[in-house]
């Protein structure tokens, strides 16, 4: 807790002794990471789905098809950029960029390691959550401006869905804030240092009395996992782009690079929520085994691999489950998840009061 938290920015300033270089590097590094991650995730999506379905997946682009995503990016760059005549052009063109910006802005506060965080602001959790909600505006803009009925239906559904699922997610996050008594992601991470039983999934650091709240924190984790699936529009909550009903939902009319932006934004969002899960419940950059393999560089490894596990879980669920209907989806959040989230919040509050 007492350890000095360095931002990536400070670290590079120290290295290069120039503010400008530091600024540029800090801005581009996560972008580079995001690009590499997106390629890996797209390949992962293709290959994992193939594995689940007893297929091979892409095999002819490089060895075992591992550079398939590169080919896809090269292809998408060349595609014609169609703006439909009937579309509201400024909004139509802005939507994918807004969506991508929102997803990318979240990366500003993600702590990759104890010393690497692009911006170590105190309201990190709040900020990341706010940026996640911004994506819905891009979605609505895209859906409405396309002047396509399928897009419009997709956009309407997604607004209802994302806003509703933010409530249980916010309450769960608030509970973690109460437990950690901080909104700084680095502090939350640092709190969970040591062995894995100090993770908030297992009630955070504390005495054996914390065993009482482990069911509560477990259910909080599940709540947040489900809510995060809904926020990123993944199955079983992918009704905004539900292929069998709404053709391609809000991005039906998008082609070429603008579609790629939506595509990237979806994968970026997946990582952001996976990162948030690993920070809030799984100790972020902390090694699970005390001092073993612990440190700033190992932290990057632990953080990314924990996040990738949850990206994998999202992909896994997508290829396993059917999707819910729009009214059932709303029923789940308002009738089940929100009350449970409130109960969790109350239970944690009580526990803290008597502890």
């Amino acid at each position: 807790m007492e350890q000095q938290i360095l931002t990536l920015y400070d670290w590079i300033v120290k290295l290069s002794s120039s503010n400008l270089i530091a600024l540029i590097v800090v801005i581009t590094l996560p972008l580079v990471f995001l690009m590499v991650y997106a390629l890996v995730a797209i390949l992962g999506e293709l290959k994992i789905s193939a594995f689940i379905q007893e297929r091979l997946g892409p095999m002819r682009t490089g060895p075992w098809g591992i550079i398939q995503p590169v080919a896809e990016v090269v292809k998408l760059l060349q595609k014609e950029d169609i703006t439909p005549d009937a579309a509201n052009k400024p909004l139509f063109n802005m939507a994918p960029f807004l969506m991508f910006t929102a997803a990318y802005a979240g990366f500003a506060v993600i702590p990759f390691s104890s010393h690497f965080v692009p911006a170590g602001i105190n309201l990190g959790l709040f900020y990341i959550f706010a940026m996640g909600s911004l994506a819905v505006i891009g979605l609505v803009m895209g859906g409405w401006a396309s002047n396509n009925k399928y897009s419009l239906l997709g956009a309407l559904r997604s607004v209802a869905q994302i806003i509703s699922y933010e409530i249980p997610a916010a309450i769960v996050i608030l509970t973690i804030v109460v437990l950690a008594s901080s909104m700084n992601l680095q502090v939350i991470n640092a709190n969970q240092g040591g062995w894995f039983w100090n993770w908030y999934l297992f009630g955070g650091p504390g005495t054996a009395w914390k065993l009482i709240i482990i069911p509560v924190t477990f259910s909080m984790f599940l709540l947040y996992l489900v809510a995060s699936l809904a926020e990123t529009n993944r199955t079983p909550f992918d009704i905004p782009e539900g292929e069998s009903e709404l053709v391609a939902g809000y991005h039906t009319e998008y082609s070429g690079m603008k579609f790629a932006m939506f595509f990237f934004a979806e994968y970026a969002n997946m990582f952001v929520v996976a990162a948030l899960i690993s920070i809030l419940f799984f100790g972020g950059w902390n090694s699970p085994f005390g001092d073993f393999m612990n440190g700033p560089i190992w932290g990057v490894f632990w953080f990314i691999s924990k996040s990738f596990v949850f990206v994998f879980v999202q992909i896994w669920l997508r290829w396993t489950l059917p999707r819910l209907r729009v009214d059932q989806l709303m029923g789940v959040t308002w009738k089940v998840m929100t009350p449970i989230a409130f109960i969790c919040f109350f239970a944690i509050g009580l526990w803290l009061m008597f502890n």
Partner: protein, 383 residues
């Protein structure tokens, strides 16, 4: 101040704008080239108008221009998912007109192939139904198994999808030597996969939520609309031509007519229609096993026939229980080698006509599920 009047708030009085949505002909879940004109109130379907004919291939015109055996390939292309079953009522009708008795072995092979094709059809039906609900993986599992069935058909007829195998007075070719073992191994595989599918898809909580109590079709409406096959049986109607009007040698086999009984919801909902297909696969397996046991392996598969098939002047309506329901052919012969007229009663054509009736008042997502549960093939709807 005037008197205060309590304003009755009624939903129907709200002047909400209805949206007309065009679904298809290119839409991922219209199962082909069906076009639905849907009127939506928010997301609630208020009206569905199917527009068909996007695959109208002039089947009946071709029948009048072709000789009797030449018609069979066109029949294959009507309901291309279960081509074996399609050919059957047609050749049966001509055999009846001409008074041909086909050899015992042929009857058994016809039954086995028809039932195998029934399984293949139901596999596609359940697979695409799951796909409509967003479950992609069960679709591929079922398609994997379907390939095994197709390989048997290929060994017998040379075709994977369209066979031209049932000929008037017999079959196009004999089956191969290891036929019985191959078929039994397929039956085993089908049963195994069915267990998997039941766990993964049919009794999945999310899936049940999606399909139970949706698109309820009462039995009397089903009769009035002429529904048959799993659509009618899903409504609790034990209407199966294999039992009711036994043709061929179906009276020798012991099997049950599966009907929907509202297992998780109301009788006649999407779940019932789908689960009927699922259980019918098991019944088909039973029939196949019995047929394999009784089937003689030696003997000819073709009756001696005149070179040109010329049924006497007359007319006949033949029907058989297709995987999708009653497939009928009204064959009018004028004594020459070309039919005067063949009218086909497309099963899907009739079953689809019930869609506007049962999809009103449900959500748009439900409409897709209802359409999937009716299980149509556009080749048969439009002919």
């Amino acid at each position: 101040m005037g008197e205060t009047k309590k304003v009755e708030f009624e939903y129907s009085q709200i002047d909400s704008e209805r949206m007309r949505l065009n679904v298809g002909p290119q839409h991922p879940s219209t199962h082909g080239v069906l076009r639905l004109e849907v009127e939506l109130d928010g997301e609630i379907v208020t009206e569905v108008i199917p527009h068909i004919g996007y695959l109208h291939r002039c089947f009946e015109k071709h029948c009048e221009k072709m000789t009797y055996p030449q018609v069979i390939p066109y029949i294959d292309r009507m309901d291309y998912i279960c081509a074996m079953n399609n050919e059957w009522p047609y050749v049966m009708g001509i055999e009846k007109l001409m008074g041909i008795e086909v050899p015992e072995k042929v009857e058994y092979i016809r039954v086995i192939f028809a039932e195998l094709n029934r399984i293949a059809n139901h596999q596609i039906a359940i697979a695409t139904f799951g796909l409509d609900a967003g479950a992609f993986t069960p679709f591929l599992y079922l398609f994997r198994d379907r390939e095994f069935i197709l390989s048997i058909f290929e060994k017998a007829s040379g075709g994977r999808l369209l066979y031209n195998y049932y000929w008037v007075g017999g079959l196009a070719a004999d089956v191969h030597k290891e036929f019985k073992e191959d078929v039994l191994s397929i039956v085993k595989q089908v049963r195994e996969t069915n267990k998997e599918i039941a766990d993964l898809l049919l009794y999945n909580k999310i899936f049940i939520e999606r399909v139970a109590n949706v698109g309820i079709l009462p039995a009397d409406v089903a009769i009035s609309y002429g529904c048959s096959g799993p659509v009618a049986r899903g409504s609790g109607l034990a209407f199966d031509l294999r039992k009711d009007a036994p043709y061929s040698i179906y009276d020798r086999f012991d099997f049950d007519v599966v009907t929907g009984h509202g297992e998780v919801g109301t009788v006649g909902d999407c779940f019932d229609r789908n689960i009927v297909r699922f259980h019918e696969m098991e019944q088909s397996c039973r029939i196949i096993e019995q047929a394999i046991e009784q089937m003689p392996m030696d003997g000819d598969v073709r009756e001696k026939l005149p070179k040109k098939i010329r049924p006497p002047k007359g007319e006949i309506y033949t029907k058989a229980e297709n995987p999708k329901g009653e497939l009928g052919f009204y064959i009018v012969s004028n004594g020459t080698d070309k039919p005067e007229r063949i009218k086909s009663r497309g099963t899907s054509f009739v079953n689809l006509s019930v869609l506007p009736e049962i999809s009103k008042g449900y959500l748009f997502a439900d409409l897709i599920m209802i359409l999937g549960s009716v299980d149509i093939v556009l080749g048969e709807v439009d002919r």
